[in-house]
Assembly symmetry: D2
Homo-oligomer: 230 residues x 4
């Protein structure tokens, strides 16, 4: 099974048409190649129906974009952590700004994911939410100030104090939780800025998925992180 | 691509652990075999991550359990009709009693599914809701009186007037929409009762998925429908 | 208790700060005065905490903006139809574009409102949804094409075919349900256009609430409807 | 305006029919009388349409059962903190087990309530959620282990370690946030047990509202807290 390490570049495919089906496989292949070339962990989060298609041929760390907190049973239309793990995922995003969760359900979802052996990457908007999430012991927390999402302005540059404040508040609750930076990561310099501020990786999406040359961009993002490789 | 015809036996896998991953493939195989033996259309609705795994080797009509009404874009954690179709589904359930939808979203979801070439099977609880749904032109409507779900009492026997009333009200709106019976279908006699009342098929779940001998039960359900084969 | 008749001008206060507390009472007073002067039924839909404050001194027909479909019990933070009726409301809006409901809950909410003796005015977006809603036997249906909401372009003028199509489809299901026009009603000419197309009233909001002279505008809207008074 | 102090007995009226309209006023009167007799702060949380009816004649601290995090505007059917404050409420419950909130919305709702000058009492289920909530700086946190709600078994007796663990975890985040005990409070001995464990009050509901003699029970609950009065 695919492993995770840091620094990490985690690419969220969302429901972009450019990242569905065979195109999801192609992006996954670029990710695996970049990992081989740079030593940086490049992980992807495709739509759930595409997970199995990718893991069939490629060894790339895959996150689901969401799982539901239910136990197996009568929950038509929901997705269990066990099902995405069986399809080959090793983790899941949770509480993305496009898919916010109730607080009690987030706590339960993290537990359920862990029971199923999935790594959890929980998104948060403001530093106080990041600190609150830390009490639920997720594997990672991704900071995404909502005002920067989709702007092309990286939080690590446009609002560095949001990163350092969140990192500080999260570490006060639990010093072991790695923090990723999301929102507005466009190129390698944004990755460097994020890692300089105490993050161990980035969460990116449209800049890669909608790029004319996603292969090169994935390489650039990962390459910028190599100086933090131990 | 797999076809649909009537009579139809549609098996909802829900999130039952007995119907995940390789076990989903096994149930799909039983379904395909039953179709070959009886001539009845046996379709299945697995969890989305399992769709591709099944269609890879088997030619069985697959419904997603749910799709979201969004266009491709920034909708982390949701599932597009195009994605499940690319994975091999030919249709989707919508508005199941365990996954009710807002009225405007149901209308939009049916349209989106049709744009993506998916057949829609929309669940309804009371006859008035069935009639209302008919205005949105779904491919099929499944009637599931909530008070019978999971009781082992088939609506077709315990509450036949609920079936005939729903069939009548739906036909008044749109005479071409086929009606399925759900809730409490346990054996072949329930299927017969449903078809006698004007339904063209059944929607079943736990009775098959949790059966000690699902292969035999699937065959029995389908076999009971053969006298309605033209 | 206040009565309802047609033509009707129904003013939705939403959560506008200009229509809260004592300002809600002032708008209610203008409405009552306009009714006395014109003979047109002017009704209002304030926030729930303001209902009692208004009915204490004024005899004006009041709609809640929403009620929940629950029976009395353990539902913290929800609002029962009986509670708003006890506070003096005679009806409730349901399924407003800013507060869409699940289809099964809408059906149940209409029933619950009727049990509590409340008139229901159910909002719908497209004609097919209007027709669907008609199967639930609401007291009135308000048509609000979402693309016109808040534009200042009245549906009755900008998209008259949306009104006539909705009226026709609703009447085919149930000829007795009166239809109101919402979305973009700005002045008396919009009211006339709406009534000419077969509506019996209008649902207005920001144009009145945010008007510099709401008293005059309420009068103008009502006055434009007087030629339809029998 | 009504004040708050500790120890506090906070009575949630939910949507119980025994606590609507004039019956809400009667319960409020008992609460005010008990406060005068015992010196204990007895506060109530009626349905929003009843707030104004109570504050008109009585000086009793009133909490809304819920407010929405929106700014004034086009949010039909929602309730602003300003509106319940104008009706006479001094605070609001948030995130009750019957009305859970998204994490980001809870954070925003607490801020909005504070802007409107409302005290916030935020409910939490497990200790980790209590600690997480503490990062949002609510005025109070109420602990309600879901498995005890409505059982008649007080958390303070049946699961004292849940109280002490929650109190400890909350105090580690912010030592100034008072903690209330909810779930299963039936009589004065439950109140004593709660205060002995470090809580400063209780959140009760059905035991009072559905009591044959609510006046006596309210007195008993408050009286049990008097030894903690300073």
């Amino acid at each position: 099974m695919a492993r995770l390490w840091v620094p990490i570049v985690l690419i969220n495919f969302k429901t972009y048409i450019e990242a569905v089906g065979q195109r999801a496989v192609t992006l996954a292949k670029y990710s695996a190649e970049t990992t081989r070339e740079t030593g940086i962990c490049v992980a992807i989060a495709p739509q759930t129906p595409d997970i199995g298609r990718i893991t069939q041929d490629l060894d790339v760390p895959i996150f689901a974009q969401h799982i539901d907190p239910y136990l197996a049973g009568a929950y038509t239309g929901y997705v269990l952590p066990e099902t995405v793990r069986d399809a080959g995922a090793i983790g899941t995003l949770l509480n993305h700004s496009e898919h916010r969760l109730r607080m009690d359900e987030l706590e339960a979802s993290i537990k359920r994911a862990q029971e199923a052996g999935l790594t959890t990457c929980v998104c948060s908007n403001v530093p106080a939410v990041g600190a609150a999430v830390a009490h639920f012991n997720p594997s990672m927390i991704a900071i995404e100030p909502p005002e920067l999402i989709g702007t092309g302005k990286a939080v690590s540059k446009a609002k560095p104090e949001a990163v350092t404040e969140a990192v500080t508040m999260i570490k006060q609750v639990n010093g072991k939780i790695p923090v990723l930076c999301g929102a507005g990561i466009v190129d390698g310099s944004d990755v460097e800025a994020a890692l300089d501020l105490g993050a161990v990786g980035v969460l990116v999406s449209s800049s890669v998925v909608k790029s004319k040359d996603p292969r090169t961009l994935i390489f650039d993002l990962a390459n910028a992180a190599t100086k933090y490789l131990h």
